[in-house]
């Protein structure tokens, strides 16, 4: 059981990378410049997670709702991501990172879909950090597509069945969800998986999110008592009687 009661390091960190546009606006730069800086911040964050022995990093790069942004920003973002995916793969490979793109790919261009699968294939054998990039993703979309898959397979619709059909079934649930940019919302990110995640909000805009900010989030996480629906007293009993799995909660712990 890796999930401890008074937790040590979070195994799975998920981040809503918010504030790129505002970072750019504050500096009189076009919004796309903020996204570019956001890619640099992500590169830095991946390295920091590798150095800290974090097992899984899931980031919210582009939501199903972001299509409604100005066309110029959307196409700029697509372009930026397509280029970043190809140019960063070598370094990710070197750092032992395994890439997964999570989200509805059907609406993406053929070139983008190929870039995604090529990046996934070439990092598939890596055993280090698992990096999930949520792209054209929405928590509700994920639950709906999982339910549909379960229904199609003819199985009864149970928590476990849905859990196994979700887009993030290859990793345990997040322990810590960070949102940068000062907003206090979940914004349709990991609705199902974040059921018991600790939430951390910071006013820092994503391009400013550095190693120190990550360490601060981890330090806050370590002070939290994770009870998974139980009482503190129950948690102080020997671990075998208090594993969250036994409470019927859907805890996937790596």
């Amino acid at each position: 059981m890796a999930a401890t009661v008074l937790s040590n390091m979070p195994h799975h960190v998920a981040i809503v990378m918010d504030g790129n546009g505002r970072w750019a606006n504050k500096r009189f730069l076009p919004r796309i410049a903020g996204h570019k800086q956001g890619v640099a911040a992500l590169r830095r964050c991946v390295k920091a997670c590798v150095a800290r022995g974090i097992g899984v990093l899931t980031v919210f790069a582009f939501s199903s709702e972001n299509w409604n942004r100005p066309a110029e920003e959307v196409s700029g973002l697509m372009d930026l991501l397509a280029r970043a995916v190809t140019s960063e793969v070598a370094e990710l490979k070197q750092n032992g990172v395994r890439l997964h793109f999570v989200g509805d790919r059907l609406r993406l261009s053929a070139a983008m879909q190929t870039a995604f699968s090529n990046a996934e294939i070439s990092t598939a054998s890596n055993a280090g950090l698992v990096l999930n990039i949520c792209f054209n993703y929405g928590g509700r979309w994920d639950i709906a597509q999982a339910a549909q898959r379960v229904a199609d397979s003819g199985q009864p619709i149970t928590e476990l069945a849905i859990d196994r059909a979700l887009a993030l079934a290859h990793v345990p649930d997040p322990d810590l969800v960070i949102r940068t940019g000062g907003e206090l919302r979940i914004s349709n990110f990991l609705l199902w998986q974040a059921a018991y995640a600790e939430l951390h909000f910071t006013d820092k805009l994503w391009p400013e999110f550095d190693e120190a900010a990550l360490d601060e989030a981890i330090a806050v996480f370590r002070t939290r008592e994770r009870r998974f629906g139980q009482t503190s007293a129950q948690l102080s009993l020997p671990p075998e009687s208090t594993t969250p799995a036994e409470t019927g909660q859907n805890m996937k712990v790596g």
Binding site: A24, K26, R27, F28, L29, P30, A33, K36, Q37, D210
Partner: protein, 282 residues
């Protein structure tokens, strides 16, 4: 005179240093815009423009910088622009120094004015990009130029004329000797070594130009690049002297009491900043 020089320096540093270290680059880039506009105005005056046209040139520099800022160039990798700017400086600098003070007025005035605005704009863009990369990076380029200058001054004083009989550029800047240039280069090489060692012991997140060159191209390329940059800082210095001499002016203006004008202070940076960005982006 010395007192005036010190007072101006202290006032300038009191404004520039906090702006430099301010976490966001906006403050530093904005303040340098003021200096750059003044440089454009000085350029007009040095080329015999009326006061009104000189002000227009200053505003043209300001506008070019602002437009490139709003277009997002500050955070964009521009290897082609910097390579073109670097090549232009090397070729134009070489040609200008060869043709001497008399060659300058033969260039059409409109072309001289346009080239000046472009050179000033490129220098600001490189300065701003260097600040966006990080304070350490920007400082490493600026200190290189200052080190080359100070090193040249002292080694010129100590060894000037000892090994070569010909002056560096007798008709443009009679005070400068080859020994000074060589001494400046030696000082800059030592500076690069020292800076890389400091970067390594400090574990800084944004590397200096020296560490960035060493990590990407190795020591040999770095040392050649550093010598090249210090040579080009001398070219910038000489080109400005040439223009002033052709205009019959001692200083580019009296904006900075005790120092002359803005262009007098930044002349060596004009080619060095774009070239440093070229080396950093290749």
């Amino acid at each position: 005179m010395l007192k005036q020089r010190v007072i101006t320096a202290v006032v300038l540093l009191a404004i520039l240093l906090p702006a430099l270290f301010y976490p966001s680059f906006v403050l530093f880039c904005s303040i340098t815009l003021v200096l750059i506009s003044a440089g454009g105005w000085e350029w007009g005056r040095l080329n015999g423009c009326s006061q009104r046209l000189s002000v227009v040139l200053g505003l043209a520099c300001l506008l070019a910088c602002l437009l490139s800022w709003y277009a997002g160039l500050l955070t964009q990798s521009l290897p082609w622009l910097w390579s073109a700017a670097g090549a232009a400086w090397v070729l134009a600098g070489g040609w200008l120094l060869r043709s001497g003070v008399s060659g300058w007025p033969q260039i059409p005035k409109s072309l001289r004015l346009a080239l000046g605005v472009v050179a000033i704009w490129l220098a600001w863009l490189a300065l701003a990009q260097a600040r966006v990369i990080g304070v350490n990076f920007l400082l490493s380029v600026m200190v290189l130029v200052w080190t080359a200058d100070i090193g040249a001054y002292f080694s010129g004083k100590a060894f000037g004329g000892r090994f070569t009989k010909t002056k560096l550029a007798a008709s443009i800047s009679p005070g400068k000797s080859w020994e000074g240039v060589w001494g400046g280069m030696v000082c800059v090489l030592l500076l690069a070594l020292l800076w890389v060692l400091l970067d390594r012991s400090g574990g800084t997140q944004n590397p200096s130009i020296y560490s960035s060159l060493v990590s990407r191209h190795g020591w040999a390329v770095t040392l050649i690049a550093v010598v090249f940059l210090s040579a080009m800082s001398v070219v910038g210095d000489l080109v400005e002297s040439l223009v002033k001499r052709s205009a019959g002016a001692k200083d580019s203006s009296g904006l900075l009491p005790g120092h002359g004008g803005v262009l007098d202070r930044v002349d060596a940076l004009l080619p060095t900043l774009p070239l440093a960005m070229m080396l950093a982006s290749l």
